[in-house]
Each structure stands twice: as C-alpha cells, then as structure tokens.
Symmetry: D2
Amino acid sequence: MTTRAEALEALARCSNAGRWGADDQLGTLNLITPDKRRRAARLVREGVCVSLGGDIDTVQRPLNPHPARHLMHLERDLPDTLHDSIALDVHGVGTHLDAVGHVYVDGIGYNGRRQDEVVTNDGLLANGICAMREGIFTRGVLLDVAAAAEVHWLEADRTVTAADLRSAETLAGVDVEPGDAVFVHTGLERRAAPGDPADLVARAGLGLDAVYWLRDRDIAVYSGDCVERLPISGPVLPLPLHQIGIAAMGLALLDWPRLTGLLAACAHYGRAEFLLTVAPLRIPGGTGSPVNPVATF
Amino acid sequence: MTTRAEALEALARCSNAGRWGADDQLGTLNLITPDKRRRAARLVREGVCVSLGGDIDTVQRPLNPHPARHLMHLERDLPDTLHDSIALDVHGVGTHLDAVGHVYVDGIGYNGRRQDEVVTNDGLLANGICAMREGIFTRGVLLDVAAAAEVHWLEADRTVTAADLRSAETLAGVDVEPGDAVFVHTGLERRAAPGDPADLVARAGLGLDAVYWLRDRDIAVYSGDCVERLPISGPVLPLPLHQIGIAAMGLALLDWPRLTGLLAACAHYGRAEFLLTVAPLRIPGGTGSPVNPVATF
Amino acid sequence: MTTRAEALEALARCSNAGRWGADDQLGTLNLITPDKRRRAARLVREGVCVSLGGDIDTVQRPLNPHPARHLMHLERDLPDTLHDSIALDVHGVGTHLDAVGHVYVDGIGYNGRRQDEVVTNDGLLANGICAMREGIFTRGVLLDVAAAAEVHWLEADRTVTAADLRSAETLAGVDVEPGDAVFVHTGLERRAAPGDPADLVARAGLGLDAVYWLRDRDIAVYSGDCVERLPISGPVLPLPLHQIGIAAMGLALLDWPRLTGLLAACAHYGRAEFLLTVAPLRIPGGTGSPVNPVATF
Amino acid sequence: MTTRAEALEALARCSNAGRWGADDQLGTLNLITPDKRRRAARLVREGVCVSLGGDIDTVQRPLNPHPARHLMHLERDLPDTLHDSIALDVHGVGTHLDAVGHVYVDGIGYNGRRQDEVVTNDGLLANGICAMREGIFTRGVLLDVAAAAEVHWLEADRTVTAADLRSAETLAGVDVEPGDAVFVHTGLERRAAPGDPADLVARAGLGLDAVYWLRDRDIAVYSGDCVERLPISGPVLPLPLHQIGIAAMGLALLDWPRLTGLLAACAHYGRAEFLLTVAPLRIPGGTGSPVNPVATF
C-alpha cells in the first residue's frame, strides 16, 4: 500500500458501515447467526475442550512493559480463605479480544463513529467490549499457513496473502464460510527457540489482499499467531488488519492466542474445525478484554 | 451446625479427597466427562447465547470496598488506537469462578492439601485457577427455588434446604445429573428495589443438607444468587458451601452470576436446561478469576 | 477574560520562557536561592513541625472517581513483617505538587516546550516532576484572604483578586518576597459542613490580576484552598492559575493542601511565616507527585 | 546470635516499650525534640538541598518483582493537561520510610502491641505510618564505614559492628547525639559495577552490637546502604535491625536511600552533618511510605 488514494479505496471496499444498521456496535459478530451457532454446536464430537489462551504474563519484556500484577492479599477476617487481585493492560501480550472501538482511521471507527465523539476519560460510549457481552459461539477453522507453505515457520519479512489463506483452506479440507472464526498459524512459536515469542518483535503479518479475503469470505473472527507485519512499514495503512479489519469492517480480532494445544488437537482428531467459545469480561467502556478462548472438539 | 464433631463428620461425609487421585486439582469438574460435554452441546437448539456475567463494577460500596479500576491510557505512538487497563479484586462482587484452593478448613484444602504448603506470596502452588484452564462445558440447569416456594424472593433469614432444591428440580422438569451445573434462584435481585443487590448484605444461604444434596447428586458447578447465609452465624462451619463445598468436595463455585437474562431465556424457550460455558483467565497461582459465563440455548 | 487577544497578552505578560535559560525545567523554583534557603531556615524558632498534607483518600467521591487503593499483602516468607502497596492518581484530590509539564496552552508548555514533543506513553521527556527532585525549601507565608475579608469563607462565586492578596499580606504583617511560597486561605473547609471539602465542586478561584500579582511578586510556590474558580466559565483561559501560572510562568503549584493545622500554628505562634519543606517522589516522567508538605515553626 | 535466650535478652535490652507512654506510636522519633530541630535548622549554611531518594523504579528485577507502574492517562475533558497514576510496593526497592508497625517478633511489635490486634485487611490500627505524619526534621550525620575501614566497599559477608560505627564517627568529626539520623555508607553502590545495586542480593548488614550502639546512642533514624546482612543466616533474629530496631526500639528506618549525592556534598562542603527532612505520605493504616528524603547544607 503506497498511496493515500489506495488506502481510502481499501477502506471503502471493506467497510461494513451501515450494513447492520446505524446503531450497530457488534460488527462482524452479526455474521454469527442462530443457525451458525446450532451447526457449530454439532462439531462437538469427542467432547474435549482445549484452551487457546496463554497464561497471564507477569514478566516484564520489551513487548510487555507493564506486566500483569497479581497480588495475594492479607486476609484477617476470613483467614481460611485466600484473596487476590489482578491488574493488567488489556492490549498487552496476553490473549485478548479487541472491541471494534479499539481502532480508528483519520478519527473514524467502525460504523462511521467518530473517535472524538465516543471516547471519554472513562472509556467508550459506543463500540466498546460490552457490545460483545453475549460472547462468541461459532465454528473455528485452523488455517495452517506454515504447513501449506511447507515451512516450519514464516520468516519475519513475509506477508501472508490471500493465496496463502486459500492454500491453507485447501489443506484444512474445510470450506471457510460466513461467520467462521479463522485461526492462522505461521509457526511463530517455533521461531522463538532462544527467547519468548513475546520478544520476537519482527514478524510476518497479514497483507492487504488477505484482509480483502477476510472481508469477501465474511469471516466473523480473526485470530492467529500472525497479525500485523512488524516492524511496520510506511505511513499509509501500516496496520491493515487493525485499520481495515477493525475500523472499517468491525472485525472481531482475537489477539495473542496460544495455538500449541489447538495444533495438537487438530492433528489428533484429524480435523481443522471445532466449536469456538469466547466470552469477554463485561468492562463498561472497555476497548477489549482479556479472555481465555476455548476450542471444543 | 453446632458442634465441632458434627462439622468434622460433615467434612468427612462430603470429602472428595483422593477420589480422582492424589494429584488431582480439578475437583468436581472431573464429573464433566467427554460424554457429558457431547450431550450438553446437543442442548443448543435455538442458537442463542445469554451472558450470565455482570458488568465489572467500578463503584465503591459496602460489599465492594476496592472497586475495579478501569483506566484509559494516553497513547502517543498509535494515536488512532485506544488502550486501557483494568485492576480488580478476584473475589469482589463481580462474577467470578473460585479455584478449589480458595478455601481451607483447619488449614486443609481440597484433596488434603495444606494451606501452608501450597500458598506463597505469588499465589497457589497447587489447586489454583489454572487447573481449570480448559474451562467448563456442561449442562446448566436453572433451579428456581423462589418460584418453587411460590414467593418473589426468599427472606434474608431463610436457609435453602435440600427439599427446596428438589422442589425446584421438579418445577424445572429436569432430572439433575452428575456433572451438571446448577443455578439456584432465590429472587435476590427482586429484594434490591431501593438499593443495589451488592449492598444487600443480609441474605439467604445454602444449608448443610443442601450441600449434602450437591454432593450426593454429584453436581460439578454450583452457581446462583444464593451462596452463604449472611450475616454468618456461629463459629463452626459458618460458610458451608465454601468450607464443605470448596475445601472438602472441590466444588467449582461460580459466584455472583447475573440471572436476569437466564430467567428470561428459560421462560422464553420453555426449558430450564442449557449449555453452560465458562473459561477462567489463566492467572498463574490465582485463587479464582473474573469470568463472563454464557448460557447457550 | 473574554477575548483570545487578551489571553495571549496575559500569557506573554507572565511568561518566564527563557528567563532561566532555554534548558530550564525548574520554573519559579529558580527563585529560591541559597540565600533564600538560609534565611528560611532561620524561621525555625519553636522547633515544631506541622503537616500540610491530607490523608490519602481511599473513598470514592464525585471529585475522586479513582480513589487511592491501599492493599495489604499476604506475606509468607517473612510472616513477622507486614507489606502493602498503594496506587493513586497523582492529580486526584490528595495533596500533590504539579510538575511544570502538567499544563499546556495551545500545545505549548513552560519554557516554550511543545506538548507533542515532550509527552510519550511513559511520561514527560522534559518538565517532569524529577526536575524538582531536590525539593522545596523556602519561606512559606499564610495569606488569610477570608480573615482579611472578615468572612468565615468566600462564597463559591467569588474571584480572589490582587487586592485580596494584598489585604491578606497586610494582615499577615509580612512582606511577601521573591522565592516565597504563599498559602491562600479562603475558608473552604468551613463551607464543608454537610459534606466533605472534596465534594464541594463549586468554589472560589484566583482571578487574572491575582495571577499577575504572583508573577510580579515573583512567588515561587502557590498553594491554598483556592485554586481555580469552579465551575469554569468561558472558553478562554478558564483556568488562569494552571494556564498562566504553570504553563507560562512555570509556577510550582502545591495543590490540595490541608490548612487546618497551619492556621492553628500561625495563630498559636503569632506569625504567618514559617519554613516550608516539600519533597516530591522521583517519578520518572511524572507530571506531579503526591506529597506531604511540612511547615516548621 | 545463636540461642533464643540471647535473642530475648537482646530484645529486652533494647526495648523502648513504655518509654514514651503506653499510647506512643512514634518510637525513636520522640528523641527529636523541639530543641533538636532548632539546632538542626542551624546546620543550613550553604543553602543547598540534596535529594537522598532514588528514582521510582519501574524495572522488574529479582529484588523488585512488582515494579512500580506509572501510567499516563487519556485526558479528554482537559486535553491541555496531562494526568497520570502511580502504583508501587511500599517496601520495594525504592526509598521508603518504615512505620514502626512494619515488624513483629513472636507476634509482638513496638510498644508491646500484638500483631493480631493491630492488623486488619485495611492496614494498621496503630503504629502505622500516619503516626509520623509531621515528618522528620533533625540532624543527619554521614557515617562512612567504608572510608573508615579504608576500603572501597565492604564485602558481602561482612558484618558492620559498633566499632565500625565508632570509627566512622571519629572520621566524621562529629559526636553522634540523641535524636540524630545516621546514614551508614558501606560502598554498596561501588560493588554494583556489572549490574544494578538492586540486583546485589548478597550484602553486608548491621550486626547485633551495632544495633546496641544505635540504642545506646539514642539514634532517632537509621539509614544507609547497609541494613540486614543477606542472605540471612540462622533462624534466631536473622534481621536484627528490623527485629530489634523496629519491633523493640521503635526505630525509624529509612530504607533504600541513594547516598551518591550526599557523599559528594559532604566532601564538597567539608562536613558530615546536615539538616535532614523526610515527610511520609499519610497513608491511613500504612506500614510505611515511599519518600524523597532531603539533606540541606
């Protein structure tokens, strides 16, 4: 993406503004219909749940400057009970679900809402995480881009394209459908041998045509170990998944999932589809929530 | 409950120590088998999700002395995005799932673990919330004790008995089975007219024989607007659900749910059973986690 | 103040930009010279210290939406010691010292520094509270405007003028000199009968000519129970003490002091001057610090 | 110290219980009399202030597992002002003043107060930091033990003795008197070449006879880069400065000062005595407070 004109065109091409009414705050989660949920529930065959969340990270790192703070409390009134508190950055390195009001382009967010009109000191007046309070219940599909590309991991300077996603779809043996949640795997965890994945700043990311693919296939939820290409390049739409996906499409982005268990389960059960359940904390005005997504096979 | 001998007998009667092996940290969630999950998934008929969580409470009250602190962050690097953080007491008035290591009697917790051996400044070495990382996926059953008693709400000096639960079960038209999650409704929210439910300190609670019933029916998850009778009475087992349920049985307690939507959905769909999904945040060493449980019909 | 031209003139009239060099971050604290400190030390005659700070406020109120959070910690390693933590908003209702980088007008702060150049996600690159790390050590003077006006308290719609300050100076029997810290008393604590001072939003404030007086007299530190008139009126320079005092003059503002003990001590010792010591916490990049100022007689 | 009998004798020998009345919560700060303050004020000759506090540490380290969290806030109502918050562990690696209620031996703290009677979930009912609300204003004396021992730094296995303190006193050319604040320098900062002082766990500490010396000389405030010998040795009184000093004597311990500036100033001005001012935040029930102590020459 090089020009501003192209950026505007991309935003317009993908925008879901008005698609579900002027009042909508739910974005692509509208694509998860009751029928979609019923069919997703039928994917539960083995009756096994797999967490897709990471442990809350209390270690300070370059990508985690404000680590979560977990404190055990002194308890005098009820000494036979233990109490604690947790403080965390919602959009830190932990697994979290972004609200559609998390991102803006030129001050405009999902469904045409202006940043300066919806943001207060206390949070979002609209497009906040509470709009997603009923949670996500849909089919999840693993798109193993690394496996489809026959590599252990994608190098950091790689851009994931629509063709990559299609190849992974073919490998999965599943036709991705409207309302699905896709989990893209590029092998980032395998690159992390010497350190922690959280420290790997440079990384592959989704390209513009991959975002178009998400829009054209009416994906409801995007997740995976590949989000934006880092370090970012260029001043125009450097973060296409956030800027086009969240701000224009209203895409539900499930960031920083942990895919290890999912890969193992898909291999074990011989299928790439499963029931996905995610339920954000109801943080009034929140721009997202820490979550522990679960795949059920 | 009046004597210490009776208390010890009650603990012994209900204990699940050793039932699932000396290493077990999962407690009654072991009762949720793969087959149980498969059958629970089949309860999804209308394809509708209902949140059972309350909004995170940022208002200071008598029962919420440390309200959650939600802060919007200054963001200079990426001004078109919004960031925030949240700090909260895990066992405050918000909807949360207790770890089995939350409670002890005479220093002994679930599966015979000693409080002084498993607790550190950083949290639990065993019986922590991460043991429940794969979440809860089972049948939920609404037991409307208030409706069965033909009252709008139970008075604060009331103890909910096993007979109450059986009456509610009959009214529900559902046979409660091992591995189920029960949601007891006593109408607490209706008593709250002048103030907030959180301010209603005095309240009905489960009696000892009701806890026995939970044990005898092999309930996996207890939830509801009725937990312990407050204010507590007597020095011996004043908190039977916590002391016998959590410490002896290893019962998964889902505290402070919001039942309004559940009641409406059960009435609307004409049934008291549904799929329950709950996924605690993976807080290492944590004694519980804030959650947003979801009922799917 | 009605017009923007007048506002610009007021800012220019009071600006200390460049006065102590282009690199200066200390503002009016430069007016406290070694000789000034020596003379201030000689004010210690009775050898009595009086705190001018309030208790850290852990109660949520309209003016204190995020009360301080004081938590006692579980301590297993050293059970014979107690540990705790404190979290607080620097510019909340507690007694605090503002850094000169706390305020900007049209994006310009003290000594001509641009807000967008000195502010990062982690705090101030210049004009932060650490510039004041050596603390304040100077003469303090009580200016009892209420007493001079022969009222118990100034009404909320009152503006404190230069004439008010001069009358109070006369009453004090002290000639205010360059480098002094002035403590203005308008009797706000007496208006607070039904509630807490913190809840009294409407209040008297300094007028423009009073700010001029601070500048003309080369006051180093301003403090008192009278800061800005609230609710604010008009779009142009609604907060003259902050906008002209801090942003243009680089005035050290010691906000939310507690004057009760000071009034009693001044009455008891029969003088309105004393040694003032204040030492901000060294918060890197901080826009201020909670403090406990002390008057020594 | 090897036997429990000796420990009890040491505690009895140094105890100040009852010395200033049964209600006293101030401990050795009682030794700072009005006359002491007057004379301390006269030490201000050059009129120069030197901070003895360190920067608040936001970096996670072995000795700082919960680093301070400094957050800049989004500010929409007053965009020309900056707001922030700070959260910190009071007894972390930052410069702080301990309350006398911070430490207990066999459950007994300063002035015979029982830990189980004065501690609540919200903090101390007595012996808390607010007892010191009027701050510390006294003579400070630098005791350069390293210089007196003619070494750059004391090795980690060294115990500082009363003889060391006397030698340093001689070198200082100052007679330490009742009510003084002593600052012991052992050169810890010079040992820190490869890392940070905060990471140097192993370190020299005060021995029992040095604590006796503090008691016999009626020191009001102890500070320095030498506190307890680490790692601790033995089960009986492993932390003599805390256990005898704070719990028995009620000594004001000013922990984690930064001495670099003090050393330079003492060398520059050719004297080891100065005015010390310290003012803890008024944290109700707090076991201590972060502070920025100041030496004025």
